[in-house]
Every structure is written in structure tokens, then in C-alpha cells.
Symmetry: C2
Subunit: 477 residues, 2 copies
């Protein structure tokens, strides 16, 4: 099995092929007969359900309500906010026929729902009493990618959550933008164990139609950057296009201020790229569909092994998701490989000797190490181990991020380092023409302008105008 | 407000307009700028989330795993099972353009996912060890309706769950069909408080591509029938079209046996049509997003009223969803109307006299009656009341169903009664030509052939051939 089902390429040698194999062989997802679209398999979908469960509870605690809006957007609506339309139109899928009849107006399949939601919000909002309005939608969206499909990262259809809020003031909208970004950061760092750099997007990289975009960027282990989540301040761009007005306390009619923010199934791709290894998937315990697997060894000869395995399971399943793999048609070795490939954080092996000595053999997937623990303290040990694995994965990724973030002052240095991968932290003029030239020249983009700005004084790394900001540049997905 | 926001037509006088008003004014859903599509508003979506939460847990307990498959189905795939294609093709929405390029092959937006899922299942299944396979998907589906939109009942896009299973034997697939129908029945009767008749569909009404279809039918209060959920035995129709084969224990390659089953957001429409009244929505406590609302009265003068209201809330929210409506800009009378319109099962009114006398005034929405209860036993009283309201709504609907189910033996009697509405229980030959003629003649269809068959002997109510079954006929949504 290990040859047939195991990963056959090394992460260091062919990252792209390794990534695809890990996803396919650990059964997270697969290609489909529909060009550009993927199937999210039960194991992958269970990770998405965990993300949903955690994040949805935070949304509800902070005043957000879920709803559902039509997936189809008439062309005229999509066009209402000019910058937005221009940004999305190259990748829109269009419905032109219903049954055997041509439609009078073609319908876009939502690439994002600002336009359809806001045309409806304008009817819901009349007074300051109707504000703030906080709506979220878990749904599928479609962007007609023309480049090669990359599972979880670039598919024509994907799943996401899109939050949309409406406020009476610019400041309140800004607080909302920051609150959601903070919730994303907590999710990504504390649950997915992936460190991020939070900040703003440049003019060239912001959301089509936004006043400004905030983002979380992180570094994959091939040293390319990945955007993990974004939260946009939409200003009054859309409220003016969609006539979202309210009667304020001072009896004046005003345009509202808006935000939108989202995370998607690409987070699962990030989990793979950051933590996994040449044996397969590695999952942080807090997000793993299965946290612990118990493998009875030699059970066909020693009945007490199965009993012990089940007893351990009963105790652990009060706090964790646990399975006992009692399949008789596979050897323990096969099972070890199987569950390692699937990235289960902890494996407990129980053989006749373990039963006899009142011990449990524990394998931790993050370090691929084994240890023997006393049965009587195993519940506390497992608790510590779960915490420790979660922490270790984050710290390892943090270290990698730090070691691959470079400060440079000259464009020569920039060009040399950018080819090696990682983030380049540099002084920058902040101008869109400069950003474009760097991209043309190196394919790298401004990933994030961190909130924490220091030592800006000096010249732009590219154009030598006065630097106005510190920015992180990288090649990215 | 009661004039502006209240329901302005009577259920008895204009059922259709009443239905739409209840949904719009209680804020369950509304029309959208997209023809044929609706917006599910937060209050309506919360009911769907409750249905999802309950049903999803039952699915997981019985071996079903959630996954996600592409929404787009290439035309060639959709055509593979001929009967299925013929059944769905008149109502398929087609994607023909991506960005500004015409697609080589047009793509259907899923009207249901048999074809896309099964083309993939055929790759997942090799051996009897891979069976049974049980997959469920919560998603949106599209059927290009040409008749007028009816909120929750007939919209071009709706939300549902579709379960798809694969088995080694016909019998095991049949057990699965019945298990899922039983789970639907439990959901609909015990949670939605809607009594159903369970049985099989006739040849003319079964799912396109099924061996047979089982169904739950119920009666709305305008005496039209509504299908609440269906569970299909697909036989080997699809496994032969999609080459879903497995190596059985006897080393022979065999075609698999399949089932599919679904419920949708139309269940919310049924909730409205069965329980609601001329004051607005009435919701069974087990499915209501908000079970109890507390209205403090005269709180501006008596501080103890708010304290009491909050104390009562704290105690109740351990077991129920509860809100205290402390809004100062509305009168208690306005609030009563508002929450009655929204169908909250129990209202607790707390005024200065209640506080003084250690009493609580309780309003139950199902009967629209008030009573005063002792504060010291209120938790037990509320518990009883919740159970009692749930039971009362079901029994009232059960009585309505029974009183509007008529047995007839002659076609003259059939035609007379069918115009009055309700179910007609009649002896029937079971032939498709006969079923077609009855439909042409009366617009009524065979809704369900109940599992419980008795006293079949006699002649078909229409064609006078020998009766083979007892069937329920009705006009339906």
C-alpha cells in the first residue's frame, strides 16, 4: 500500500505535484469531469464544516445574521458599480438559456454578491434604526478561471462565506472591517496554526470597488505568499450606486457606509501547503476532522487488546473525535501509513505488551515520533499533547515565515531575493505606476502593507522617490 | 403599525395573497430583483438552519458523510440516463459563456446531482469493501420554472439536501430508502408538527430515472396537497448508465444499487400554510428560531420590571431561545402585534402588577390565549407549555387532514369532491393511462399510494378495471 497509496514525490523536489498528491491521496478533494471544478470529498468537507462551525459561532456572537440571496445576478445590476464590474467581468460565467428558451437578459452566476445584496439592502434600509445591518451568507461562488486548475486554490467554483454590513458612519464601518479581520486572524492563527501578516492592500491589489482592503497574508512552504482572508471598507461607492440611504437622527438623508469580507475553501489548500510533509497530510488538532486514531495490534490473538482500545476510545471521545481502526483485512503497518497520510494528529497503538505493562504507545504526526506513556495518566498526557502539537505547528510555521522574510534597500537586492522566494520587506513610494512596473519586471506583487509601520524614512526600493510606506512583496498564488 | 404591518387579507378569503403576506411581513423571505428567485431573510434562514442542524445530526449518526460536488453538469453527462434527462431538460438553466468566450459544451446548473455525482462514484467504487457509500450534500439547485413564483414553493433557485447512496444489493438499497423516509417523517411530524401520509408515488409521478419513489404527502390548509420529501430507489438505472460496478465477495463484477433522497426549503412554505393564521405566522416551538419573547410593561416607571424580565430570561435561556424586547420606541401593544406576526410560540408579559403579585402573564400563539402563572413554578409551566403547543399544533393539523380525506367509490363522487379540496382515497387500477386521464379531466394527481393497503377488492374509481391499489388523489402545489 505504501507504494501505491503513499506520496511518490518529495515536497522539496516537485512542490506542485506533491501538493496535488497529498490532497488526492489523503482524500481531501479531487478533480472532476467538469473542467476547472473540483469535488470536495468527505474528509476535506469535514475540515470546511469545522471552519464553518467555529467561525459561524463568532459571527452570531457579534451580531451577524445568516441569510441567502439569489445566485443569479442580472447583467444590469452587476454593471451598477463601474469599478466592480470592470474587475469581475472577465471571469463571470453567464446563463443565457432557461429550458430551450434564450433569456432576454443574460444572468451572471455570482462571483461575489455585493450587487445583488445591495440592490435589496436599499429596500430594507430607511432609518438609522435599521443600522447597523450585518448579513452573512455561506455559499458557492463562480469565477471563470482560465489558468490550470489547482485544487482548493484555483477552481471555477468554490465555497466561501461573504459578510456584508451597512453602517451609519465611516468610522463604524472601519471598526467593522477591523473586527472581521481580527476574527479571521484568530481563526487562521489559533485554529489553522498558520501565522499571518495583517495589513492593507495596495491600490493595485485592493478589491474592485473598495475604498480600501485589509488582508491576511501568509507564506506557504514553497515560499510563495497566499492571501488567507480579506475585509473591505467599501466607503460609499456601492451605497451611491445602489441608493442605500437612511434618515439619520438629525433628520437628514445620508448614504450609508459599507463593508464586505470573506474567507473560502482555499484555507484548506493553505493547511496542506504549510504543515504537510512527504508522508502526507499534517493537520492541526483544533481543525482536524479526526484528532486521534487508535490501532489495536495483535487483537486476533489477544482479546484484551480490543477491550482496552475501546475503553480508551470511550474515555477520549468525551473530549475529542476518536476512531478505533478495527479493520481485520489490514495490517497495523498498513494502518499506520493510512492514517499518517490522512494527517491524524495522534495515533495510539495498543498491543498485548502495552496492555500487560499498562502502557500506551503514542505517535505524534507533527514530529513523526513515538513515545510510551502510562495508562493511568493518559488522559492528561493526551490533553497536553493536543495543545503541544497545535503550538508546535504554529511555531514551526512562524519560524519559517520569519526566516523567509528579508529586508532590502536596493532594487538589485530585491530582484535577486525575490527569485528565491519569501517575503521582501521594503520601503516603497506607494504609487500604482511603481507597483505595476515591479510586477511586470519580477511577477511579484505588493502582498500587504502591514498595520505596524516603522522606519519608513528613505527612498522607494524601486523608483527612488521618497518612501511613504513599508510593504511586503512576494510572488504569490 | 398593526394596520401597516399586519396581514390585510383573510386566510379564508384569499389564501394565496394571505400566504405571501405572512411570509413577507413576518420577514421569512421576499421577492428579489431576479425574476423567479427569492431572498431568504435571516428569520426564514434561521428556520432552515434549525432543520439542517436536526437532520444533519441524524444523517451523521446513520453513516452519511457530507461532501460537495460541482454545480455545473456538462450536457453529455446529464444525457447519460435517458429517462432522467428527458424529465429534467425542460427546466434546466444553461451556462454558455465564461468571461467573453463561448463554451465548447454548454453546462447545466444542477437541477439535482445524480449525474455529476455518479460519474464520480464510478471511480470511487471498485470492491464490495467500498460499499455502502453514503454521501449527502447541502446546496442550491436550479429549476427553470416558467409559472409565477411562489415563495418557498416555486422559485428558480432553492436550497436543499440531497442524499445519494450506493449498495451491493437491491434489498439493502430498499432498506436505505425506507430509513431516509422514516427520518423525514420524524422531522416533519415531530418537529414541524405536520402530519403526513407516507407511501409510494405512482408511475406517472415518480422521479425521472427511479425504480420507485417513496414520498411524504401532507395537506395545506387550503386543502391542496404538498409533497414534503421524497426518497427514491434508483435500482440499477444509473449504475448501468454510469458504470458503477463492484467486485463482490463471490469475485463477480456487479452493477451497484442506488438511492437518492431530498428535502428542501419548501418545508418552510408548508410550515406557513399549515399552522399560520390571520394574525400572521405560527411556529411550532421545536423549530422556531425564537421560542419565547419577554415584554416588560411600564418599565420606564418601574425599574423592578426590567430586572424581573432579565432574571426570567436568564433562567429560561439555559433551555430555550429567548429574547427580551426592551426597545423604548415601541409600545407594548405594538410589540405584541410584532411578535405575534412573527409567530413566536410564547410571549411573557411582565408589568408592575405581575412583579408585585409574583405572577407572569403568558400568551400562547397557537391558541392566542393568555393566562397568569405563579412565578415560583414558571419554569415547569413553560416546559409543559412548550410541549403542549407542539402537540396541539400537530393534533390540529392531524384533525384537519382526517376531516379532509374522503373515500369515494364512483368517479362522479370523485369529481364532485375533488373540487372541494382535500385528499380522495379511492380504489385504483394503478395504470398510467388511467392516471393521465384523471389528471387531464380534473387536474388532480395521484399523490401517494400508502404503504398500508387494505380493502382493495373492487373496481378502479375511474376506468372500472379491477382495482389493484388504494391511492390518495388531490390537487397539489
Amino acid at each position: 500500500m505504501s507504494e501505491q497509496l503513499g506520496i511518490t514525490v518529495k515536497k522539496e523536489e516537485n512542490f506542485s505535484e506533491w501538493y496535488t498528491q497529498v490532497i488526492q491521496k489523503s482524500e481531501l478533494a479531487d478533480y472532476s469531469p467538469v473542467k476547472g471544478c473540483m469535488v470536495i470529498k468527505p474528509y476535506g468537507y469535514a475540515i470546511w464544516e469545522n471552519i464553518q462551525k467555529i467561525f459561524d459561532s463568532w459571527l452570531k456572537e457579534t451580531g451577524v445574521k445568516n441569510a441567502y440571496f439569489p445566485m443569479f445576478i442580472p447583467e444590469a445590476l452587476l454593471k451598477k458599480e463601474a469599478e466592480h464590474f470592470e474587475g469581475f467581468t472577465p471571469e463571470v460565467a453567464w446563463i443565457t438559456k432557461g429550458g430551450d428558451r434564450d433569456l432576454e437578459e443574460k444572468l451572471a452566476v455570482r462571483p461575489t454578491s455585493e450587487t445583488i445584496m445591495y440592490s435589496i439592502f436599499s429596500e430594507w434600509i430607511r432609518s438609522h434604526r435599521d443600522l447597523p445591518l450585518r448579513i452573512n451568507q455561506w455559499c458557492n461562488v463562480v469565477r471563470w478561471e482560465t489558468k490550470a486548475t489547482k485544487l482548493f486554490l484555483r477552481t471555477r467554483e468554490f465555497l466561501w462565506q461573504e459578510g456584508h454590513t451597512v453602517h451609519a458612519t465611516k468610522e463604524e464601518a472601519e471598526e467593522e472591517v477591523m473586527l472581521r479581520l481580527k476574527q479571521y486572524k484568530k481563526l487562521v492563527e489559533e485554529y489553522l496554526a498558520i501565522p499571518v501578516i495583517d495589513g492593507k492592500k495596495s491600490e493595485g491589489e485592493k478589491f474592485a470597488g473598495a475604498l480600501f482592503t485589509t488582508t491576511l497574508e501568509s507564506l506557504m512552504s514553497d515560499k510563495k505568499a497566499l492571501q488567507m482572508g480579506t475585509s473591505h471598507h467599501l466607503g460609499q461607492h456601492f451605497s451611491k450606486a445602489f441608493e442605500i440611504k437612511f434618515l439619520d437622527k438629525d433628520s437628514k438623508e445620508k448614504y450609508a457606509w459599507q463593508t464586505s469580507w470573506g474567507i473560502s475553501t482555499r484555507l484548506i489548500g493553505a493547511l496542506v501547503m504549510v504543515h504537510s510533509d512527504n508522508k502526507g497530510l499534517v493537520l492541526p488538532p483544533k481543525i482536524a476532522p479526526l484528532q486521534i486514531v487508535i490501532i489495536p495490534i495483535g487483537a486476533e490473538k489477544t482479546k484484551s487488546v480490543i477491550n482496552k482500545a475501546r475503553e480508551v476510545k470511550r474515555k477520549l471521545e468525551r473530549h475529542y473525535s476518536v476512531e478505533t481502526d478495527e479493520r481485520e483485512e489490514y495490517t497495523p503497518g498498513w494502518k499506520f501509513n493510512y492514517w499518517e497520510l490522512k494527517g491524524v494528529p495522534i495515533r495510539i497503538e495498543i498491543g498485548p505488551k502495552d496492555v500487560e505493562n499498562k502502557k500506551l504507545t503514542i505517535f505524534r504526526r507533527d514530529l513523526n515520533t513515538k513515545q510510551s506513556i502510562d495508562e493511568k495518566s493518559f488522559e492528561r498526557e493526551i490533553k497536553n499533547l493536543i495543545e503541544n502539537i497545535q503550538k508546535n505547528l504554529f511555531e514551526k510555521a512562524r519560524k519559517f515565515l520569519d526566516e523567509n522574510t528579508f529586508e532590502v534597500n536596493t532594487y538589485e537586492g530585491f530582484k535577486e531575493l525575490i527569485e528565491k522566494g519569501g517575503f521582501i520587506k521594503a520601503k516603497w513610494c506607494g504609487e500604482i505606476d511603481c507597483e505595476k512596473k515591479i510586477k511586470e519586471d519580477t511577477t511579484a506583487t505588493v502582498r500587504v502593507i502591514p498595520f505596524k509601520q516603522e522606519n519608513i524614512k528613505g527612498r522607494c526600493v524601486f523608483c527612488e522617490r521618497d518612501a511613504k510606506i513599508i510593504a511586503y512583496f512576494a510572488k504569490s498564488y
